[in-house]
């Protein structure tokens, strides 16, 4: 994929934190000449209705992603380990606060 546009503006992935204390969440992408311009444009595009109070911008080219074909190898091993969840355990009748 071509990550720069005609003027050589790279592609940035945009992450917005909607409220203090919450995670920054991916919202989309845009082209910008540099990080500062990416932040300014992200402000205009993604926070016109008070959707955010903090913005992260990351060059799209800097993101490494797992491949769909590797999904089974990566994630199936978790399937048979239900003992990692609290609901797996049998608690005696009447026990409180556990």
């Amino acid at each position: 994929m071509n990550n720069t546009n005609e003027q050589g503006w790279p592609l940035w992935e945009i992450f917005i934190q909607s409220k203090r204390g919450l995670d920054h969440k991916h919202v989309g992408s845009l082209h910008a000449a540099d990080a500062q311009m990416a932040i300014e444009n992200a402000r205009d595009v993604y926070t016109r209705r008070q959707e955010g109070q903090s913005i992260w911008v990351v060059p799209a080219a800097a993101i490494s992603a797992s491949q769909p074909d590797d999904a089974a190898m990566l994630f199936d091993p978790a399937d048979d380990k239900t003992y990692r969840h609290p609901t797996f355990y049998v608690m005696p009748e009447g026990a409180k606060f556990i």
Binding site: M1, N2, N5, E6, Q7, G8, W9, L11, V27, G28, S29, L30, H31, A33, D34, Q36, M37, D44, V45, R48, R49, A65, Q67, P68
Partner: protein, 314 residues
């Protein structure tokens, strides 16, 4: 060959199970091509759609209306961006999609090739054109391609005020002076039929629909969506005392839907073919804006380079 068949089957199974397709997933070439065409056309429509409304920003009747119209047009620019970004995830560059619009190779919604002659047209556009677009966009929130669906969810959230502000304009005019009411009725008369055409050819003449439905790119047919739009809009027109310009419009007690007159598909095809009232003007305006913005884009790059050098030196 079996390899490809398996991929096809796996893909369709995912789609059937209502799992979204993501950019790195295997997908049929035709699915990719269809989406690139549809999403970029959709993006172009958002961008060209700013022109007929931009025409009235400086002439809005008061500050409230002007602020609203500015906000709406700014939203449409954002919608264009969300969609261009979604198209980009399919491996087509931003430059290619924009070039296709500027060269006239790509299509955009034909509705934007009609002129906005009076202030009432801004009401009619919001009420009818955004209203019709929303029908389609709500359906597309559940489209099978993840980035497209996500862009649509964002767009639908922002769209909801667009139709309401248009209907409000129409309501105020329809209940104003006789001249204002006449202006509102005239706008409805001119925008009604082109709005119905926005849903595309009738199902019998819509060759790509079956495949798009199978791939769950589309989830409802053109005629289905058009019918819901008509049923809703006729009621809204009644409330504000305007008349739908269709003498054949009739409530059918059995189907619980309105029957409507024949849509002039010859007109539709003619506008799609480039012969609408404003096709040339719209394309010229986009090209002019793009050309005149070239120095700004270059300057931004030069400024970014300078800023980076300074930072390094510091």
């Amino acid at each position: 060959m079996t390899e490809v068949k398996n991929s096809q089957e796996l893909f369709q199974a995912k789609v059937d199970a209502e799992q979204k397709i993501e950019p790195k997933d295997w997908m049929p070439e035709k699915y990719r091509k269809t989406l690139i065409r549809q999403i970029s056309q959709h993006a172009h429509s958002e961008v060209v759609g700013m022109l007929p409304e931009g025409n009235w920003i400086t002439r809005a009747p008061n500050l409230r209306r002007k602020a609203i119209l500015l906000a709406k047009v700014q939203d449409e620019a954002g919608h264009g961006l969300y969609l261009y970004s979604a198209a980009e995830t399919l491996g087509v560059s931003r430059e290619e999609t924009i070039d296709a619009l500027l060269s006239g190779k790509a299509k955009y919604s034909s509705i934007f090739n009609y002129p906005t002659l009076t202030w009432a047209d801004i009401g009619a556009v919001g009420w009818l054109v955004d209203g019709a677009a929303i029908m389609n966009q709500v359906m597309l929130c559940r489209t099978s391609y993840g980035p497209y669906a996500r862009a649509m969810v964002r767009i639908c959230k922002e769209e909801s005020f667009h139709q309401r502000q248009g209907y409000e304009i129409m309501n105020v005019l329809a209940n104003g002076t006789p001249e204002q009411k006449e202006m509102a009725q005239d706008a409805l008369n001119r925008w009604w039929w082109p709005s119905l055409m926005m849903f595309g050819p009738s199902d019998a003449n819509s060759p790509h629909s079956a495949e798009s439905m199978k791939w769950k790119i589309k989830r409802q047919s053109n005629d289905e969506l058009r019918q819901i739009f008509i049923d809703r809009t006729v009621q809204q027109a009644e409330v504000i005392g305007l008349t739908i310009p269709d003498p054949k419009l009739k409530w059918n007690e059995e189907t619980m839907h309105y029957e409507h007159g024949e849509i002039d598909w010859a007109e539709f095809n003619n506008v799609v073919a480039g012969n609408g009232p404003c096709n040339k003007e719209r394309l010229a305006a986009r090209n002019k804006a793009h050309d005149e913005g070239a120095w700004v884009r270059e300057a931004a790059m030069a400024y970014a380079a300078k800023r980076a050098r300074k930072k390094q030196a510091a």
